[in-house]
Amino acid sequence: MLILHCPCCGIDADETELTPGGTAHLKREGPGSSDEAFERYLFLRENPRGVHFERWRHAHGCGKWFHAARCTMTLEVFGTYSAQTHAPPREILDRIAERRPQERREVA
């Protein structure tokens, strides 16, 4: 049972207040994009065994979307942050690097 801090309203939200939204920082591909690019956008996922940047909505709370950096092997949470970003913020990446020096990370 996850407990994630909602950066929008400041609540430590129980998982039952949240709705998961899948991988974060996907770049939308619209008309004109190649079949490969569109497939990557809709289907191909990193599905990492490690840190996953993902979307959550505080659906039974303030209703806002936010992002979380979470390890899929231990469920350790490296932080939550604004959904209005195209890439994880520096301090999150630093925290991951500090706690998981061995973790390989290509950053969008």
Partner: protein, 1003 residues
């Protein structure tokens, strides 16, 4: 015989006698007894039958680990199978039934199976019952199933109620023994929010029974003191009869409170399942004693030494007159001493250790007890109960050295820390060779959201068995937890507790060490599932070397006690057989719950009316009064039809349809989603959300729009009204409102967050009533208050106003093909308007209609219905809705998806109307076949029915369907085989069956 002792019993109240019934026989016991102690006190030692061989079983333990003494408790709608007698507090008129026997516990025919035990080794069923094939289903399996299982299934609906309770605490302490009490005391003093739970009704655990002396006081006195201290702390909560059931990620724990199990006929919930969110979890869950593996160790009369001590000290019950004690460690000597103090004969203490025990052994000798060292049990005599034991040398192969008469054997194979909760979330264990136990590995705890360990084990649960060490470890753990939570703990002097010098335990996995297979076949590891030492050895021999394989092959540890008694012994045997070290073999995974919890408590309050929310429209009560038949639509309840006296549902539906076609009908459309989209960028936004060009919609007008998923498939549809330059009102399907609202918020918050748009879901603010039929306008004019004439309000116009003095918004839209107005009114005024419309329409024969009539009406018009014509794989182009897909826009959600090869294929299945040649109704969901079969031998198909009804308006069956290249094949006849063998033939026609020009709605 087992009996009640004339004095003593720290837990029982001899002044309160309770009567209870087992298998129809009446017994008596005292307040404070458990069902097990009361039965023992009444010399009833046969308490169950084993699972596989139906062997006679007596109670072996005094606690949660009991595998044998299981009963069906209660009767009727309060009957519950598989209740542990050891955990069942006695209450007046308790009724119990023994299990897994026929005709009765004493003479169980199933018992004959044990005679064939020789040919029923581990996994025998994988090797036989192979032929003839049909026999498995019809002969073997039914017999096996009938013999398996334990208690009987409850027959009635549960009469009790259950509930959940959510708490957030700093530290959850599981286990109310001295370690838990001391840790709670320290953590409480540090100001932490503490929840301390204990699965039994008593605090203090084993210390009082073991005669511990703390701070110079007897344990009981010390405990009383600590309890009052804890009760005075407002930040400490204590719950007896409450078990830590499971530990989950991020500090979540399930705690199971048995609120009224111990009282008969109490009001209030039976069980309360606590959902605890804890900063840290401290397990002071104690340790469980291990049986010893010697031949015949499953006979009634063979018990754990600690359990024997419990019954003597707690309940003043002795399980026998001559109790032989057998052990590999010092603790069992306490049992011998307790027995002899109680005046029970202990013929001998059989100690497998050549050197024997420490101070306690000395005490035993000086109490005149006979101690045999380096000795073991070679076998027991007795059929239904122990009558005697044959002794041998532990280091030998079992040559009998002596016979001793006894009616009870108290055994101790050492103690195993209860590490379940530590392990549930991934905490690792380490094997302690000296103490012969798995204990929590402090370096590999389960980790939480912060990446640090969130479970701490203390006391016996952490591998400490001496009271002084236990209390010291509790202090340590309390400090560790407190500091982990960022608090500090002032130093307190370590507690003093008496400690006797002990001799080390000896690892004894079989008695004797070199026992031949003949003896090993009689050594039970898992009492309930009848798994023996020889079975585990067989598994290893056949290559089931991983502990998981061995467990699953032999069923060791898979009984209702989940291996609490058998796991360590079993894997020691496995390691021994494989010539491996115990840690190399490892343990099986511990899974929640610690002991079984009622399924009712997991469901909590969610049953009957509270099973799931029912969403009611503002007009619900009127529909109920009108005798509507309701249909679930998501969580909504919508009137399906309003049958009148003597009408069948079908007749009522026909009447409602004809009413709309010829007179006027009323529909509760309140469930339709209503979402307001407002802002400078609102037009731009709706252009992305809809396939249509919505930004060009004029204020005061309505337009039908389509929404697709990014994949391109049609997701939802509805009418959009433009309220003002910056504001759109988007109607969605009934099921779609919440989903579409979330969909819009998603795009606005996470993709186009710089766009200035706000959305609000106002679905429930309004009751929405459709007035449809040729007389609709007259009805509204009778009600009065607005000009609803054709000139004032043309088709697809909307206007604000008042009807019958009630503020309304009227949309001139139609889903029936008739002249129709949809009226939105504040929910609190919905009933008033509905009544006003009904009375105004009486002269016109107005009547309410339900969803089924609605569906037929739209089908007669060839209008699609989301969920009927669409199923998540259909694009708007398939439905001939190309007109609703803007060619001017360079992007909308779903546009790119629709450009993919499969979705833009020319030969996709497309929407058509279908008319049976017979005039009858096509079967729902039927497929149109074509010649030949595919590579997998399946019949080729070219289309399917999506909606099919009998049209009362047209007097015949009509259907809509998707057919390959359908629109280009008008007039063609297709075959639709039904599941009844009949082939239905239907002609492809236009889906607009009725009033194709739409003249009726445009008057």
């Amino acid at each position: 015989m087992s009996r009640r002792l004339s004095q003593g019993g720290r837990l029982i109240d001899r002044s309160r006698t309770f009567h209870f019934t087992v298998d129809g026989r009446r017994y008596g016991g005292f307040a404070g007894d458990t069902l097990a102690s009361a039965l023992l006190a009444s010399n009833r030692t046969l308490m169950g039958r084993s699972f596989k061989y139906h062997r006679p079983r007596g109670v072996v333990s005094s606690g949660a680990e009991e595998p044998n003494a299981l009963f069906g408790l209660g009767t009727g709608d309060r009957f519950e199978p598989n209740q542990r007698a050891t955990m069942t507090e006695l209450y007046p008129d308790l009724t119990a039934l023994s299990q897994n026997r026929w005709p009765n516990l004493e003479q169980d025919l199933g018992g004959l199976i044990s005679r064939a035990a020789r040919v029923l080794p581990a996994g025998f069923y994988y090797k036989t019952f192979l032929r003839p094939r049909v026999f498995w289903k019809h002969v073997y399996e039914p017999v096996i199933r009938a013999l398996a299982g334990l208690g009987h299934a409850p027959a009635e609906k549960d009469a009790d109620r259950y509930e959940h309770f959510n708490v957030t605490v700093d530290v959850l302490i599981v286990g109310g023994g001295v370690a838990g009490l001391q840790a709670a005391r320290r953590a409480g003093a540090a100001g932490l929010r503490v929840l301390l739970v204990e699965q039994t009704a008593q605090w203090g655990g084993r210390a009082p029974v073991d005669g511990a002396v703390i701070e110079g006081k007897p344990a009981d006195a010390w405990i009383t003191g600590v309890l009052s201290e804890l009760q005075s702390m407002p930040n400490v909560h204590m719950r007896p009869r409450t078990m830590g059931a499971g530990v989950y990620d991020h500090g979540y724990a399930l705690v199971y409170e048995r609120v009224t199990d111990h009282v008969s006929g109490a009001q209030g919930p039976r069980h309360r399942l606590w959902r605890v969110r804890a900063g840290r979890i401290l397990t002071t869950t104690g340790a469980l004693e291990r049986p010893l593996s010697f031949a015949g160790n499953d006979l009634p009369g063979v018990m754990l030494a600690g359990a024997v001590r419990d019954y003597v000290v707690n309940h003043a019950v002795t399980p026998g007159e001559r109790v032989l004690v057998v052990t590999n460690n010092d603790d069992a000597y306490r049992t011998a001493l307790a027995l002899s103090e109680a005046g029970v004969t202990v013929p001998a203490i059989v100690d497998a250790r050549p050197g024997g025990g420490g101070a306690l052994a000395e005490a035993a000798r000086s109490a005149g007890l006979r101690v045999l060292t380096g000795t073991a049990i070679a076998g027991l005599s007795g059929k239904r109960h122990v009558t005697g034991a044959a002794l041998c040398l532990q280091d030998g192969t079992g040559e009998v050295t002596e016979q001793i008469a006894c009616d009870t054997v108290a055994m101790s194979g050492g103690w195993s820390p209860v590490v379940h909760l530590w392990s549930h979330c991934g905490g690792k264990l380490t094997w302690d060779v000296d103490e012969v136990m798995f204990r929590p590995d402090p370096n590999r705890p389960p980790t939480g959201a912060d990446g640090r360990g969130f479970v701490e084990a203390a006391g016996a649960a952490n591998g400490y068995l001496a009271t002084a060490d236990i209390l010291g470890d509790a202090d340590r753990a309390a400090r560790a937890v407190t500091e982990a939570l960022g608090r500090s703990l002032d130093d307190a002097p370590a507690l003093q507790a008496e400690r006797e010098e002990t001799a080390p335990i000896r690892a004894v996995w079989t008695m004797p060490e070199k026992a031949p297979v003949k003896l090993r076949e009689k050594m039970w590891l898992d009492y309930q599932n009848d798994v023996k030492v020889s079975d585990v050895a067989l598994a290893a021999q056949e290559g089931f070397e991983s502990v998981e394989h061995a467990k699953r092959y032999t069923t060791l540890g898979m009984a209702t006690d989940q291996g609490k008694l058998s796991n360590i012994n079993g894997l020691a045997i496995l390691a021994d057989t494989l010539g491996a070290e115990i840690p190399a073999v490892g343990t099986t995974t511990f899974r929640p719950p610690y002991t079984p919890i009622s399924i009712g408590s997991v469901a909590g309050e969610a049953r009957g009316d509270l099973f799931q929310p029912i969403r009611r429209t503002p007009l619900h009560h009127l529909h109920e009064a009108a005798g509507a038949v309701f249909e679930p639509v998501g969580h909504w309840r919508r009137p399906y039809v309003f049958p009148r006296d003597g009408e069948t549902v079908a007749q009522a539906v026909e009447r409602e349809i004809l009413t709309v076609r010829h007179k006027v009908g009323l529909l509760d459309a309140s469930t339709l989603g209503k979402i307001i989209v407002k802002g400078p960028d609102a037009g731009r936004f709706v252009d992305m959300i809809y396939t249509n060009k919505m930004s060009t919609l004029k204020v005061g007008r309505c337009r039908y729009g389509l929404m697709c998923s990014e994949n391109g498939f049609l997701m939802d549809d509805g009418v959009v009204a433009r309220l003002d330059e910056q504001t759109f009102l988007c109607h969605t399907t009934s099921g779609g409102a919440d989903h579409i609202h979330a969909h819009m918020e998603d795009w606005l918050q996470t993709e186009w967050w710089d766009w200035q748009v706000y959305v609000a879901n106002v679905t429930e603010q309004y009751a929405q009533i459709a007035v449809a039929g040729p007389k609709a306008r007259e009805v509204l004019e009778t009600v009065g208050g607005m000009d609803v004439s054709k000139d004032a309000m043309a088709f697809m116009d909307w206007a604000d106003g008042a009807l019958a003095g009630i503020p309304v918004r009227v949309f001139r839209i139609s889903f029936s093909g008739e002249l129709s107005y949809e009226i939105a009114v504040p929910a609190s005024r919905g009933e008033a308007l509905w009544q006003a419309l009904r009375s105004a329409g009486e002269t016109h024969g107005i009547a309410p209609y339900g969803t089924e009539a609605l569906h037929v009406l739209r089908a007669e018009k060839g209008l699609i219905m989301i969920g009927d014509e669409t199923d998540g794989t259909v694009v708007p182009q398939d439905l001939g809705l190309d007109w609703a897909i803007s060619k001017k826009k360079d992007d909308f959600i779903g546009m790119r998806g629709q450009q993919r090869r499969e979705l833009s294929r020319p030969d996709r299945w497309k929407l058509v109307g279908l008319e049976t040649l017979s005039g009858g109704v096509l079967p729902d969901g039927a497929y149109a076949v074509e010649e030949g079969r595919n590579a997998n031998g399946q019949r080729n198909v070219q289309g399917r029915v999506t909606s099919t009804y009998r049209s009362p308006t047209l007097g015949r069956g009509i259907a809509m369907g998707l057919v390959r290249n359908g629109p280009d094949r008008m007039g063609e006849v297709l075959d639709f085989p039904g599941t009844d063998g009949v082939v239905h033939r239907a002609r492809i026609v236009s889906p607009a069956f009725y009033d194709p020009e739409g003249e009726r709605q445009n008057v």
